[in-house]
C-alpha cells in the first residue's frame, strides 16, 4: 500500500478484515460489511467514499463501539495505536474502556448538526462537557478553554455564543460547534461522517477549510466519510472506495480519481463529477411560452420570532466569515515567513473578494470596472424587459397559441391571526419558460427557489404580481420520495388516482394505462400491487415521476428531484427525465442546488439569491461566463 503524502507514516488506526453484523431474528446475523481492511497513518486525511448502504459509516461506528441495535464486529480486528508501541484492539474493549477513548483520542462529528447537539443545553455547556468527561482540566480554566476553542472554530462573539442554544444557530454554525466539541480534547483521530452534506455549498467549503486547518495545525488525523467525491478530493490525500459492504479500491486520491481501476469507481466518478455527458439537447425550441411571470412575489406566513431568527443566522454566518479572515491575519504573525507570504496574499485576495461583494451590494461606492459590468447588465435587463413588454402588448396573437391560460392576478390575502407576519420569500421575479424546455433554478437553501416552484405549481396562494401558465395544472415531483407517496396505498392505486379524479376511461383502460406508464419509467407491471415502503429511493422517485406525467400536463415542476438519491441512481433518474421529456414534449422547471446536475440537464438556468433572480441565461453562457458575484461564488464552491 502506498503511503506517500501521509504525514509521518506511523500507523494510527488499522481495520483488519473487519466484518460487522447486525442480528436479525433469533440466531441469524446479517453481515453488512465484509472483510474491510484499510489503514490510516498519523496526520493524514483519509476519505471513505461510497453510496448509502455501502457500509462506510458502519465500519467507523464499529471502531467507536457506537453501532447500536446489537450490531457488533463479527470477525477481524480494529487496532488503534495511540502511542508508539501501544496497540489497542478496539473491538475487544468494554464499554467503559471505549468511553475513555471516545472524545479523548478519537472523536466524531455527524451529518445532522440539527440533531447531534442537545437542544436543552447551551453551546458552552456542551463543549465544556467534553472537558468535564475527559480533561483533567481544573474548573476555573474550563470556561476560558471553551471560549478559545469556539473562536478557533470560527465562531464570532464567543462570550455570547457560550450562552446560546443550538436552535439559535444556523446549520453551518452548529457544525462549527460540533467541530469545536470534537477538537477540544485534541484527539489524535477525527472521524467526520458526512460533515457537510446537510449544508449549502458555500458554507460547505468553509467547513472543509476549517477541518483542513485543524489537520495542519494539530496534526490531527482525519477520516472523512462522504458520498461526495468533490469533498474527498478537496480534503483527503488517500481514499477508500466502498460498495455493498466491501472495499472496492483504495489509493492516492489523485491516482484513484484520474485512473480508477475498478468499474464501480469509474461509474461513481463519472456520475459524481458530472462527466456523464450532457444530457440536454443542443437547441431547445423557444417558440411558445408556457410560463410567464412578471414582478411575481411569493409570501410566506410566519411567526414573528422565526422571522427574526432567520435574519439572525444570516448575520452570524457573515460574522463567522469575518472572524475567520481576521484569524488568518492573526496567524500570519505566528507562522514562518514563507507561509506568511502565502497567507497574506490569500488574505488580500479574500479582502478583495469581500470588497467586491460588498460593493456589489452597495452600488454607489463600487469601483468603475464593476460599475461598467453592472451597467451593461442593467442594459441587457432593460432590453429583456422591453421585449417582454412588447410580448405583453400583443396578447391576442399569443392567445391563439395557448390552449389554456390561467390567470392568477394579484391575489389578495388577509392576515387571519395576529402574531403572524408575511415574509416575502420571492421578490418580484420576472421570467419566461418556453414549451419543451428545461429551465433550471439554482441557489442555496433559503433563497426562495422551492417557494417559487410551489407557487408556480399553485401550492402557495400568497402571491402578488402576474403569472400566466399555458398549462391547466402543472404537476410536481418533490425532493423526498419517502414523503411524496402515500404510504398506505399501492403503487397501482397511486397511479390510477389522477385518472380516477379526471374520470378517464373504464377501470380496464385505467389499469392498462398505469401498466404502460410503469414500463415507461423503468419499473415493471409487477410493481402494480406493491406498497411504497417496499421500494428503494430511486424506484419511489420513478413512481413519483410517473404520477406527475400521468395526467399528460405539459409543465412539470421538479423540486430537487435527485438530491436525496445516490449518485449512480441520480444518473439513472436524470436520464429517465430527459427521455420522458423528449417523448412527451414536456417542459421542466428544474430546481436544484447542484450545479453539476443543472449543467447537465438544463437548457437555460436562473440563479436565485435572496429571493431574486440575479442571473439568467443559457446554461453554457452562465457556466462559462458568469456575470453576477453570487454565480461566481456558487461556481467556485463547486470544488
Amino acid at each position: 500500500m502506498d503511503k506517500k503524502n501521509s504525514g509521518n507514516h506511523r500507523l494510527l488506526l488499522e481495520l483488519d478484515h473487519v466484518s460487522v453484523g447486525f442480528p436479525i431474528g433469533k440466531r441469524e446475523i446479517s453481515v453488512v460489511t465484509r472483510e474491510v481492511s484499510f489503514q490510516v497513518c498519523e496526520g493524514e486525511a483519509l476519505g471513505i467514499v461510497g453510496e448509502s448502504g455501502s457500509g462506510k459509516s458502519v465500519s467507523m461506528l464499529a471502531a467507536l463501539g457506537l453501532l447500536g441495535n446489537g450490531g457488533h464486529v463479527v470477525s477481524g480486528n480494529i487496532r488503534f495505536y495511540p502511542e508508539k508501541e501501544q496497540c489497542l484492539v478496539l473491538n475487544q474493549f468494554t464499554e467503559k474502556q471505549l468511553c475513555e477513548i471516545r472524545g479523548d483520542d478519537i472523536s466524531m462529528i455527524f451529518q445532522e448538526p440539527m440533531t447531534s447537539l442537545n437542544p436543552v443545553m447551551t453551546i458552552g455547556q456542551q463543549v465544556e462537557e467534553m472537558l468535564v468527561l475527559h480533561g483533567n482540566c481544573p474548573k476555573e480554566e474550563r470556561r476560558s478553554k471553551v471560549l478559545s476553542m469556539l473562536s478557533e472554530a470560527g465562531l464570532p462573539d464567543t462570550e455570547a455564543m457560550y450562552g446560546k442554544y443550538p436552535h439559535e444557530l444556523s446549520g453551518g454554525m452548529r457544525q462549527r460547534v460540533m467541530i469545536a466539541m470534537a477538537m477540544i480534547c485534541r484527539p489524535k483521530l477525527l472521524i467526520a461522517d458526512e460533515p457537510t452534506t446537510a449544508l449549502d455549498v458555500t458554507i460547505q467549503a468553509k467547513i472543509l477549510k476549517l477541518l483542513k486547518k485543524f489537520q495542519k495545525q494539530y496534526g490531527t488525523t482525519i477520516i472523512l466519510i462522504s458520498h461526495d467525491l468533490g469533498v474527498i478530493r478537496n480534503v483527503c490525500s488517500r481514499a477508500v472506495v466502498m460498495c455493498a459492504g466491501e472495499v472496492v479500491e483504495q489509493g492516492n486520491v489523485e491516482t484513484l480519481f484520474e485512473n480508477p481501476e475498478k468499474e464501480y469507481t469509474k461509474r461513481l466518478l463519472a456520475a459524481a463529477l458530472g462527466k456523464g455527458g450532457i444530457l440536454r439537447r443542443e437547441n431547445a425550441p423557444q417558440e411558445n411560452i408556457i410560463v410567464k411571470a412578471r414582478d411575481y412575489s411569493v409570501y410566506y406566513e410566519e411567526r414573528e420570532e422565526q422571522l427574526f431568527r432567520q435574519d439572525e443566522t444570516v448575520k452570524q454566518e457573515e460574522e463567522a466569515e469575518k472572524v475567520e479572515n481576521q484569524k488568518s491575519e492573526l496567524e500570519q504573525t505566528i507562522e514562518p515567513k514563507e507561509i506568511q507570504n502565502n497567507l497574506s496574499k490569500k488574505a488580500e485576495i479574500q479582502k478583495e473578494n469581500r470588497q467586491e461583494s460588498e460593493s456589489e451590494l452597495e452600488q454607489p461606492i463600487e469601483p468603475k470596472e464593476i460599475q461598467n459590468n453592472l451597467s451593461k447588465k442593467a442594459e441587457s435587463q432593460k432590453e429583456n424587459r422591453q421585449e417582454s413588454e412588447s410580448e405583453l402588448k400583443q396578447p391576442t396573437a399569443q392567445r391563439k397559441n395557448q390552449r389554456y391560460k390561467i390567470e392568477m392576478l394579484k391575489r389578495r390575502f388577509r392576515q387571519f391571526l395576529s402574531g403572524k407576519t408575511k415574509r416575502r420569500i420571492v421578490n418580484k421575479v420576472s421570467f419566461d419558460v418556453y414549451a419543451g424546455e428545461i429551465v433550471g433554478i439554482v441557489g442555496e437553501s433559503g433563497c426562495g427557489k422551492s417557494t417559487l416552484a410551489k407557487a408556480v405549481a399553485g401550492l402557495n396562494p400568497l402571491t402578488e404580481g402576474e403569472l400566466y401558465l399555458d398549462c391547466k395544472q402543472p404537476q410536481m415531483v418533490f425532493q423526498d420520495p419517502y414523503g411524496s407517496l402515500n404510504p398506505s396505498k399501492t403503487i397501482g392505486w397511486l397511479l390510477t388516482e389522477p385518472l380516477r379524479l379526471k374520470h378517464c376511461g373504464t377501470k380496464e383502460e385505467q389499469r392498462k394505462a398505469v401498466e404502460q406508464m410503469l414500463e415507461k419509467v423503468g419499473l415493471g407491471k409487477e410493481y402494480y400491487h406493491r406498497y411504497p415502503n417496499t421500494l428503494s429511493g430511486g424506484q419511489r422517485q420513478r413512481v413519483a415521476i410517473a404520477m406527475a406525467i400521468m395526467l399528460k400536463q405539459k409543465l412539470i415542476v421538479l423540486d430537487e428531484p435527485v438530491s436525496a438519491l445516490d449518485v449512480t441512481v441520480q444518473e439513472q433518474i436524470l436520464i429517465l427525465l430527459v427521455e420522458l421529456q423528449k417523448e412527451f414534449g414536456l417542459s421542466y422547471l428544474f430546481i436544484s442546488h447542484d450545479m453539476n446536475v443543472i449543467h447537465r440537464i438544463c437548457d437555460r438556468v436562473f440563479v436565485m439569491y435572496q429571493g431574486e433572480i440575479v442571473e439568467k441565461g443559457n446554461t453554457d453562457a452562465v457556466f462559462e461566463n458568469p456575470q453576477h458575484e453570487y454565480t461566481k461564488k456558487l461556481l467556485s464552491a463547486r470544488l
Binding site: 387571519f416 399553485g458 401550492l459 410536481m476 414523503g483 404510504p487 398506505s488 388516482e497
Partner: protein
Amino acid sequence: MKKQNQKNWSLIFGIVLVSIVCVFAFVGLFWTPYEPTAMSILKNKPPSFAHPFGTDNLGRDILSRVMDGASTTFLISVITVTIGLVAGTVVGAFTGYYGGIIDELLMRLNDTLTSFPSILLALVFVSVIGTGKYNIILALGVIFIPSFARVVRSEYIVQKELDYVRNAKLLGAGDLRIMFVHILPNTKPILLSSLTIGFNNAILAEAGMSYLSLGVQPPDASLGEMLSNAQTYLLNAPWFALAPGLMIVFTVLGFSLISENLK
C-alpha cells in the same frame, strides 16, 4: 430476540382473555343456563355445580346474569366507541385539515367538554334525558368524541404538510377526498390503539354509570349494575362481586395487552 418473544406471549395472553369474555357475552345473547331475571329461594348461595358462580341476594343465577350483563355492557361500549370514533374522526379531520377559525371554535368546544370530569358530564346528560340503556349510549358517545377528535386532529396536522398531500392536490383531488381517502388510511395505527383504549374506557364508564344506578336499570343486568348490588353483600357473599369484577378485569387487561402489542 427476548423482547420479541415476550411481546408475542403477552399478545396471545391478551387475545385469550378477551376471547373468554367475548364467548361469555356472545353466548349470553342467545342462551343462559337460567333466566337472568328469574328469582328463586336460594339466596346468596356460594358457587356450586348447579350455580357455578353462586346466586345473588334475590336468588338469581350469577353466571346467567354475568353472561347477560357482559353482552349488554359490550353492546353499550361498542356503540359508544363507534359514535365517538366516527364523530371524533370527522371533527378531527376537519379541524386538523383546515385549521383557522373552524379549528379554534371546535377545539375550544372540545376543551370545554374535556374540562369536566367525564362522569360528571354523563350525570348531567342522564339527569336531563333520563336513565336507561340507550340514553347511556348517547351520553357516553358524546363524551367520547373529544378524545378521538384530538388524536385524529394532531395526526391530520402532521399529515397535511407531507408532500403526498400536496401531490394529491396537484392531481386535482378535492379536500374531502384528500381528507378521507388519502389521509385517513394513514391514521390507522393511531386510530387502532385509541380504539382499544377507548373501548376499555367505555366499559369502565358504563360500569361506573350503572354502579351509580344511572345506567342499566334493574332487573336488567350489566356488569356495573351487578357490582353495585354486590357491594352491599361484599362480606357475606364475596362471589357476587367476583364474577362481574373479573369480567371487567379480563376485558380491560386483555384489550390493553393487545393494543400495546399492536403498536
